[in-house]
Amino acid sequence: MVIYLLELSLSLFVLGAISGLVVEYKSVMRLSSTFATLASLALIALIVEAYGHLPIKGELLGTPIMIDGLSLVFLAIIGVVGLADAIYTFNYMDKYEKLGKAWVFALAYNAFLASMVLLVTTSHLVWFVFWWEIMTFSAFVLVIWEEKDSLWAGAQYYITMHLTSTLPLLLAMAIGYSVVGSFDGMGFADIAAHIGTLSPGLVKLLYASFLLAFMAKSGMVPLHFWIPSAYASAPSNISTLLSGVMEKMAVYGLVRATFDILKPTVAFGYLVAILGVVTLVVGTLYALKQTNAKRLLAYHSVGQMGYIWLGVAIGITFMKNPDPTLAFIGTLGLAAGLFHALNHALFKGSLFLSAGAVEYAAGTQDLNKVSGLYKIMPWTGVFALLASLGISGVPLFNGFVSKWMIYEAGYYSKNFWFVLGAILALLISAVTLASFIKFYNSAFGGEPNELTSKAKEVPGSMLIGQGILSILCLVIGVFPVVALAIVTLPVGKGVITAGVLGLSFNSIYFSPVLLAIVLGVLFIAFLLFLPARAKETAKPWDCGSTLFPEETYRLRASDYYRPYEKRIGAFYAFGDFFGDLGTEVINRTIAAYVWIGKYFVRTAEIPRVTVENVDDLRDGVTLHLDDALIMPIVRFVKVVGIISKTAVVLVLIVAVAVLAALIW
């Protein structure tokens, strides 16, 4: 039944992908998103069906499939976010009608989702890497959708992935092959069984290559530099998937690789923890400075991934500890990490959708330019606020519960470094709040200005997409048990409920329901007992000046928290240095790729096009009607050309590496 549902879901994705055969742009978008919606619903049905019958093994198109607790957590993420995103896409993509090439979108979009579904259900390393590459490539196609600045961002993303994610994974695969000796036998369990035969050096290399691959994908510092530009330049529904879902695949990979292929060791745990803490600090503090809505959210993705990694790291460090208390702390940490992954998918997905709605309505991502949207887009405003409070970790929202579990795990570990990590996490939580105060208030607070007063509320489908995720934030915040039922599956539900320390989830470790009741009762009581007798609306008080420019009478997004940023200015200078370094390295690499690519495929050009907008590009090249139809394909082929040639280079490098490993 479960495998059947999986097949159903995948075939719906395939239908979505081929719906590009319909020519008309809007119909393609409607069809493909409808199929994606149905596929996501099938996934959700799968989760319900599979719950309680774990683990499920099977085969799909000749590939081995295994669905266990961990898969289910990430299937849930794909299902829920995919559902909301697909519904959102129904109308959202109308914005890009001018660009045409709907079939490419349908293909890439559905392939992207489907590859991730397969990624988390496969139990075979080779297939894992295969789906990983499909995911990476389809994400690349989606990122460069707008073709303006995004081409460069896309190239940066794709080449970073090649170097730091695909390459190490191929290396890991090679090591796996060297252990098992056949491609068919490279299931996770098989490799794990044979790992003892490896030399310690190669085991370390295996750890390192997995770590590097997943670091790059989830954008851990110092490999985070591609994230802001990629997320900011992709269409918002794609950013949602990138940040909400694709990043989580790296967490999946990390947990899967650490627990099912390798062994969780303390040293590795510390390493992951340090990466997590550094990332959460760096990412969020950088997010504090941003004034572009999507760059802000992208940096927060970096930061929140740090939280997740910190949680997972606590799990890796302590889960196998002989002390039952510490083992429990480890379990708690891992559960918290996974929980936060789910929560992050929800609120960050919703926030990217909201940012997309703002862009859709006001035409800009620049928070300095928008104002007073609450008056015009109240629903988007409410959803954005719910998600903002969620990510900021305000009680009664989902982010609070998982973050709080991370703090507790950190504090109770009684280990100086993890306590310090928890303290930094607590601080960064306040920074997150500050940042979202800015995000929400500069877009939705105040009065509409010249730009936003012409805006309209976005279409219903987009609102539904945002609404699903935002309301889930609140629901999970008040009833965390719902989500905990899923996220504690991988760690074993019983382990936590029978916790030491007298803590448990069922008898309410911390009861948001109770808090919600208290707060709600008080709130309503005050509201009833002391209703605001609001008088007529008046102009905001401007000290009684005449001819005052009301439009500039508010803080702009770039004005917030300047003294604070100034105080930690040294930190930014330090971070900028490394960010620039990373970007510089990758740019050089891209240049090298292009150089090599030119050598192989003379017709290809670097996708960095120095035109002002898409129309320029089009007008310059398109002279005839048939050209207009063919050009997208030509460009697509060009891009594929670049990728294929990079693949050639890659294979060469990998071959050398494998050779080296075998000899060594």
Partner: protein, 309 residues
């Protein structure tokens, strides 16, 4: 397994009565004390009640149609009261979870969050500046609180608000943790020199500038209640370790502890008022710098606690 969640009806009643009645009274005392320091007679002790009564009777002017503007004060007040319910009153704790000190500080921070959202909903730079100053105060105070909690986790082995004072041992680092907690609570309460978000003479009341009438009254009350709640936390943390022996011994012990808590609050408030009267207001960058410095120092304290002192 011990039951970790409970609701105490008596606690709720005591808590509601105290939080509902005490804040304006304490403010009255503070005004009187400040007046005496300034060679004035000062208003009657009940003046704050009169002020609030008058504010509650007045209609509010709306500078924006944004609903959050109107909802925020109530949210702030409800949050302050909710936080109050997590505190022990004598031996009674209205609502008890077992890892709730983090929850407590977060719920208390919601007062600030509500105020900030209200302040930002209007098109008014004064109010916006107030809002972002308030946020920066939260930003810079939060890590200090975090370190204090870390020390408690090390030393008392628990993060339960009602269990920490029972379990906390007397040691060098706990004393410093207490100092950190006191400092953080003082700064978070927004007493002079930390009244930066309101700064009447600079930004005309800051976060409060657009509020009037009943909404202003509710907001002021929320701020006063928040101060009381923080003070009550401190008084609890001081009282219960000393009276550990009788704190859990029946009703009489509970009443004694409650009385001591109350007396401590009544004593502490005039001291705070004296501190307020003899200080000028920090500029926000100075306050942030001070807090950052204290945070860095506090990390040393944390290391000391980790070492075991």
């Amino acid at each position: 397994m011990m039951k970790t969640m409970s609701i105490s009806v008596l606690g709720i009643i005591v808590g509601v009565v105290l939080v509902a009645i005490l804040p304006p009274f304490l403010d009255g005392i503070a005004r009187k004390v400040k007046a005496r320091i300034q060679y004035r007679v000062g208003p009657p002790i009940l003046q704050t009640y009169y002020d609030l009564q008058k504010l509650f009777g007045l209609p509010s002017l709306r500078p924006t149609e944004n609903k959050w503007f109107r909802v925020a004060p109530y949210l702030a007040l409800a949050s302050a009261f909710s936080a109050a319910f997590l505190l022990p009153y004598g031996k009674w704790v209205p609502v008890k979870f077992s890892g709730d000190i983090v929850v407590f500080f977060y719920v208390l921070a919601m007062v600030s969050v509500a105020i900030i959202i209200g302040a930002f909903s209007t098109q008014n730079a004064h109010s916006n500046i107030g809002g972002h100053r308030e946020m920066m105060m939260v930003l810079s105070v939060e890590p200090i609180l975090g370190v204090a909690l870390g020390i408690f986790a090390f030393k008392a082995g628990t993060l339960s608000l009602s269990a920490i004072p029972l379990k906390v041992p007397a040691s060098f680092s706990t004393v410093l943790a207490y100092l950190l907690l006191i400092y953080a609570a003082y700064a978070e309460s927004g007493f002079v020199p930390f009244d930066i978000a309101e700064a009447e003479t600079e930004i005309a009341g800051g976060v409060l500038v657009e509020y009037s009438g009943r909404l202003l009254g509710v907001l002021e009350y929320a701020i006063l209640a928040k101060r009381l709640v923080l003070l009550w936390l401190l008084s609890t943390f001081l009282t219960i370790p000393i009276l550990r022996g009788i704190a859990l011994t029946g009703v009489v012990g509970g009443i004694v502890v409650l009385a001591v808590q109350l007396i401590l609050v009544l004593v502490a408030y005039p001291l705070i008022a004296a501190l307020e009267a003899t200080n000028a207001r920090y500029r926000i960058d100075q306050a942030v710098a001070l807090n950052t410095r204290i945070f860095l120092l506090s990390l040393v304290v944390l290391a000391v606690a980790a070492v075991g002192w």
